[in-house]
Structures are given as structure tokens and as C-alpha cells.
């Protein structure tokens, strides 16, 4: 009796498991499809695409579209390719991520370990920043940037992204440091460490997981941002996303889909890379604050 029921349990187990895997496989395929289309079409000559074989593997493999998207495609008025815009993006993202993460960490440190009157209200207000839609601030922000002389510059974009990101990074670090033992800070105070020494020597070395979360989050958001880039960037500070749009939208001549695909992959590559390198720390970091007591 018990043997029989165990048998059926195993059998139904196998059946359902196969089913589950099938469904999962289907979902995976479904999600992989766009990437497949992009990759496949980025290594085909244009005539293979316009011929109607979107889903087919390339007959004549070529890296020509990649080279063109990177260095010679027509973007706006100049045939520069995406290359200069890629560097624009890097010049914007790296400082913006670094500054917003460091400020978020400092905020979290102060909000948890140097409590002051009204700190929870202040934190609440900072959280509010996470929920303000981008569109609302466009005009005031443009005015501000104009007033402080950063309109149309990379540093102007850095400022905008830092201001917008600080709400999130503060949230991450505050919650992480809230469970960081206050006794450690007190011990360091007695040992004679000052405000920044405690931060550098005691808190930061234990902040790896949450720093990764903050960096990934900020990097992805800032790299992928289009609206601020399109609104506030000058001609020589446009980020990759805006350039990609210009590449795809440029109406001169035929639409070079293969170049567009290659350009789109190029634009997505850095965020993909960040995920692949640091993705598992991302999950670990998100869990750390909540589970650890």
C-alpha cells in the first residue's frame, strides 16, 4: 500500500517535473527570442533582412554592421558611429554612479549611526525622491542647470543623475546599516576614531554586498536613461541611448536594420556585462539587509 502510493508519487513527480521544465523552457525561449533576433540580424548583410528572413540564421556571416555602428554610421549630421557617444556615456555614468553611491553610503551612515532630531522625516523626504516621475522635474531642472552654468554638459547630466539616484542609494545603505551593530561604532568612538575614520575603517569594509546592489542599480538606470540625456545633453555630451535613437531615426537613405541591431546590442552591452560580473552579489546584497538580524 505504502509502496504503491510512493510509486505513484514518484511517477506523478516525474510527469509534473517534465511539464514544469517544458513550460520553463518555453518561457526561456520566449524571452531569448528578441536577443536571438538582434544577434542574428546584426551579423547579416542588409539584403538578407530586407529579403524577409528575419528569423533565419545568416547565410553570409559578416561583422560589417558592428564596425559600422561603432565607428562610421551616420548619427545626426556626422558619420561618427556610436563610439564617441559611448565614451560620453562612460564619462557620465562612472562619476554619477560613484558619487551617488558614496553619498548614499554617507547618508545611510548618518541616518542610522548619528541620529538627530527629524532624521526619520528627512529620510522619508529622501525616499519621496524615488517616486517623483522624471517628466515633472524636466523644466525646473533645465532652469537650474542653466542657472548654475551646467546646461548641455556631461557634468550637468551627472548632477541630475546623482540627485535622482541619491534617494535609492540612501534607502539601500540606510536599511543595510540599520542592522549594523551600533556597538561597533561606539567601540570605535572610544578607540578614538572620528566620523570619517569610522566610516572608512569600520562600516565601508563591511558594505560590499550593498555597494554592489547600489552600483548595479545606479549603473543600469543611468546608462539606460534616455529622457534626461535627450533633454539636458548638448551636442557633444549626448549619451549612447540618445545616439542610438538618432541612429535609428535618421531618415537619410535606406534603413540599415543590421547596423541598428548591432548598435542596440552595443548600447545594452555594458549593463549586461555588469549583471554577468556582479549579478550574484546583487541578490546576495538585497537579501543581506533583510535576513541578517
Amino acid at each position: 500500500m505504502s509502496v504503491a502510493s510512493q510509486d505513484t508519487a514518484i511517477r506523478t513527480g516525474r510527469v509534473t517535473r517534465t511539464l514544469i521544465y517544458l513550460v520553463l523552457l518555453l518561457f526561456a525561449l520566449f524571452y531569448m527570442l528578441p536577443l536571438y533576433v538582434m544577434v542574428v540580424n546584426s551579423v547579416k548583410p542588409l539584403n538578407e533582412i530586407t529579403g524577409g528572413g528575419m528569423m533565419n540564421l545568416p547565410q553570409a556571416f559578416t561583422l560589417e554592421p558592428w564596425a559600422k555602428a561603432w565607428s562610421s554610421a551616420q548619427i545626426g549630421v556626422d558619420p561618427t558611429g556610436l563610439q564617441p557617444y559611448f565614451w560620453n556615456s562612460i564619462k557620465m555614468v562612472v562619476p554619477a554612479v560613484a558619487i551617488s553611491t558614496v553619498l548614499g553610503a554617507l547618508n545611510g551612515y548618518v541616518l542610522t549611526k548619528w541620529r538627530f532630531k527629524g532624521d526619520t522625516i528627512l529620510f522619508g523626504l529622501m525616499l519621496f525622491a524615488c517616486f517623483i516621475p522624471f517628466q515633472i522635474v524636466l523644466i525646473p531642472m533645465a532652469r537650474m542647470l542653466g542657472l548654475i552654468g551646467l546646461a548641455g554638459t556631461t557634468w550637468g547630466l551627472v548632477l541630475v543623475h546623482v540627485v535622482y539616484g541619491i534617494g535609492f542609494t540612501t534607502l539601500y545603505f540606510r536599511n543595510y546599516y540599520a542592522v549594523f551593530p551600533t556597538e561597533l561604532v561606539r567601540a570605535a568612538q572610544i578607540d578614538g576614531a572620528g566620523f570619517f575614520q569610522i566610516f572608512w575603517r569600520i562600516l565601508l569594509p563591511s558594505s560590499g554586498p550593498i555597494a554592489v546592489v547600489s552600483i548595479i542599480w545606479q549603473f543600469t538606470n543611468i546608462w539606460n536613461d534616455f529622457l534626461f540625456g535627450a533633454s539636458f545633453a548638448g551636442a557633444d555630451s549626448q549619451p549612447m541611448t540618445v545616439a542610438l535613437n538618432n541612429l535609428v531615426q535618421s531618415s537619410t537613405g535606406v534603413k540599415e536594420y543590421n547596423v541598428h541591431f548591432a548598435g542596440a546590442i552595443l548600447a545594452a552591452l555594458p549593463t549586461l556585462l555588469v549583471y554577468i560580473v556582479a549579478g550574484r552579489y546583487f541578490v546576495r546584497g538585497l537579501m543581506a539587509g533583510s535576513v541578517k538580524g
Binding site: E183, A188, Q189, I190
Partner: protein
């Protein structure tokens, strides 16, 4: 003026006063234990000495220098925390020398100081490990090492043993006592464990509800508790506090106490001043170890009273047997030799050492001072 003076010090959080006019003066080399139940303000007082909490009113002085507003690192104190608070990213060696480094001590001196302390605490082989790779007892040692290396005026301990298992706690207790005897440093030590308080201290401050209930040597606290709270908090099992009435038998004041069956017995007082309480109700305090069988009664006592009462429960505990009886309508515990012939339900002739008995005013709960 003592070495460490806590002078009429008060602590409030907003409108709530959690420490009320605390007055303690600690001499150099003393081991003061702050003991009391959870929430009585022990840690708060310790943190105020350390400078981690502001002083609302009053003054704290170390070596006659006023410490109000002085930064923790400038008070020349060291603190051992309940959680040890070892820096997780640093090795044991770095943990120990971090304070010296912050105070700008040159590296060779730091190394030397670290070696000395490591040798003293026998943790030389642990110096390169991270705190995560240490046992509880080892962490405890490292935490003490970190405090010792600074050579501070005052050591502050906040329940340093409460995270250890029972056996290790007793070992470390002895070790702390040895260390104190060897180094002769001034220590303020917080615990809620009254046995720790009794064994370690040169003086105890018993705290309750933000008040220092009594400040005195362990013997004073044990033999002459200031009030019923101190009497029942210190000692295990707790002192028996029994309702009684004072009467006179000739010239001698006696306590009339109800036995299990409602009949009464009279226990003569040693204190003559109890005659002033003739005819009034009191609370009689008798420690369990002063109720014994006749053979085990203290031969040096001039005042052993006899009393036959019914045994309710016996609890053999190896070295002793605890006997519960009903006295004055309350459960009263006697601590007997393990070979005393006690059986539940039997009537037994007890001997009560009335020299050690104390009396409390039932209204104020204060001890009636002889």
C-alpha cells in the same frame, strides 16, 4: 573626592527620567558592580561614564576632571561590550591596536603593547585571525585585550559574560577577578546576575527603577539589605520575607509568625530596638541558609530559635536540600544539609538563626535599622 565621581547625575530621554540623582564615588582600584533587573538603567549609567550618552544634569568626574561633554576617546576609559563589538574586517591584532593607532601611537610601540596584552590573555596564537573565526570565550578575551592595551584609568564592562555558556561564564568570571587583582585597575561592571555581582565586586550598587537602591560591600548588601527589593534581589534562593507581628516576651521583643496550621510561634529578635515596634506588623526577612536542622545551626550564634513546622516540598540539589514550608501564609524556603532527614508532609524541628534575621517596615519596605 574619589577616583571616579558620579555626582547627583540624572538622565532623561525627552520628558522621561530614567536615572534619578545617582550619587556614587569610586576609589582607585575598586571593582564596582552595577546590578539590577532589566531596564533599571545600568547600561545608561555606564554609557554616561563612557561618554556615549549625554548627562542630563549633575556631573561625572574622573580623577577630579569634569567629564561632561568630553569625547569618549578623551576620557582615558576602555569599554568591553556585551556583544564584544570586535571589528569584523580586522584581525585580532588589528582589533587590539586600533585604538592605539587612532591615538597616533607609533607602530613599534603598538606592536609591543599588543604582544604584552596577548601574552597576558594567552591569545598570541590568535593574533592573525578574524573575529569570525573565534569561539565565544576567545572573542571575550580579545575584547578585554582591546580594552587593556590602552592602559585606561577606568574599565567599563557591560554584561561581558552574558553571551557565554554557564561553564565558560564561571571560568571567565574567575579570570576577570584574577586580572583585577593583578592589575589593580578601577572597574565599573554591569550585570543583572547577582552571583556575578557578589563574587566580583569590592562594592555593589543595586539599581531598580532608575534609583540606586543600595551601595555597599557585598557583605553589607547581603547581610543588611536597605529594603525588601535589595533583600530579595540579592541571594539565591531569595531571602524569605514573611509577615509577622512584634510582641514582647518579658524584656525580649519577638516576632509572632503563623505556622502552617494557623497556630503561631515566636522568634526572638536580637535587635533590642524592635521593642519600639511592639504590637505592630512588620516584614521579617530570613535567608534560606539560616533555617536549618538543629545540628547544623550556627554554633557561633547567640540566638537560635526553635520552630516545628510541616514540610511541603523537598528539593535535593546535591550539596544541599531545599525545603519548602508555609510560614506567615507564604512559601518559605530553608536550605538544609543534603543528609538532613526531611520528608514531605512530616513535621520537622527547624532551627532559625535569628541573629541574621532582619525586619522591614511593611509600609516603606525599608529595613528597620537596629
Amino acid at each position: 573626592m574619589g577616583f571616579l565621581d558620579i555626582d547627583n547625575t540624572t538622565k532623561s530621554y525627552g520628558a522621561v527620567e530614567v536615572l534619578h540623582n545617582v550619587d556614587i564615588s569610586v576609589e582607585e582600584g575598586e571593582f564596582l558592580v552595577l546590578v539590577g533587573p532589566s531596564g533599571c538603567g545600568k547600561s545608561t549609567l555606564l554609557n554616561m561614564i563612557a561618554g556615549l550618552e549625554d548627562i542630563t544634569s549633575g556631573e561625572i568626574r574622573i580623577k577630579d576632571k569634569v567629564m561632561n561633554g568630553v569625547h569618549p576617546s578623551k576620557r582615558n576609559i576602555a569599554m568591553v561590550f556585551q556583544s564584544y563589538a570586535l571589528y569584523p574586517n580586522m584581525t585580532v591584532g588589528q582589533n587590539i591596536t586600533f585604538g592605539l593607532e587612532m591615538h597616533g601611537t607609533p607602530k613599534p610601540e603598538r606592536e609591543k603593547a599588543m604582544k604584552n596584552v596577548a601574552e597576558l590573555l594567552q591569545i598570541e596564537q590568535l593574533l592573525d585571525r578574524k573575529p569570525g573565526a573565534l569561539s565565544g570565550g576567545q572573542r571575550q578575551r580579545v575584547a578585554m585585550g582591546r580594552a587593556l592595551v590602552r592602559n585606561p584609568d577606568v574599565f567599563l564592562f557591560d554584561e561581558p559574560l552574558s553571551n557565554l555558556d554557564a561553564k565558560l561564564r564561571v571560568d571567565m568570571r574567575t579570570e576577570i577577578k584574577k586580572l583585577h587583582q593583578k592589575l589593580g585597575t578601577t572597574i565599573v561592571y554591569v550585570t543583572h546576575d547577582q552571583i556575578e555581582a557578589m563574587t566580583l565586586s569590592t562594592r555593589i550598587a543595586v539599581m531598580y527603577g532608575g534609583y540606586v537602591q543600595q551601595l555597599g560591600t557585598p557583605q553589607e548588601i547581603y547581610d543588611s539589605p536597605a529594603n525588601i527589593f535589595v533583600a530579595t534581589f540579592m541571594g539565591s534562593p531569595a531571602m524569605n520575607v514573611i509577615p509577622a507581628r512584634v510582641a514582647m516576651e518579658g524584656e525580649r521583643p519577638v516576632a509572632i509568625v503563623a505556622l502552617h496550621d494557623g497556630s503561631t510561634t515566636s522568634l526572638p529578635f536580637s535587635q533590642d530596638n524592635m521593642a519600639d515596634w511592639n504590637g505592630r506588623d512588620i516584614m521579617l526577612g530570613i535567608r534560606p541558609e539560616t533555617i536549618t536542622d538543629e545540628d547544623a545551626a550556627d554554633r557561633n550564634s547567640a540566638n537560635i530559635a526553635q520552630m516545628t513546622n510541616r514540610i511541603v516540598v523537598t528539593e535535593p540539589a546535591g550539596s544541599d536540600t531545599f525545603v519548602t514550608m508555609t510560614l506567615g501564609g507564604k512559601d518559605v524556603i530553608a536550605r538544609m544539609r543534603s543528609d538532613a532527614d526531611v520528608r514531605p508532609g512530616a513535621d520537622f524541628p527547624f532551627a532559625v538563626n535569628m541573629e541574621k534575621a532582619v525586619a522591614f517596615d511593611p509600609k516603606t519596605e525599608m529595613r528597620i535599622v537596629p
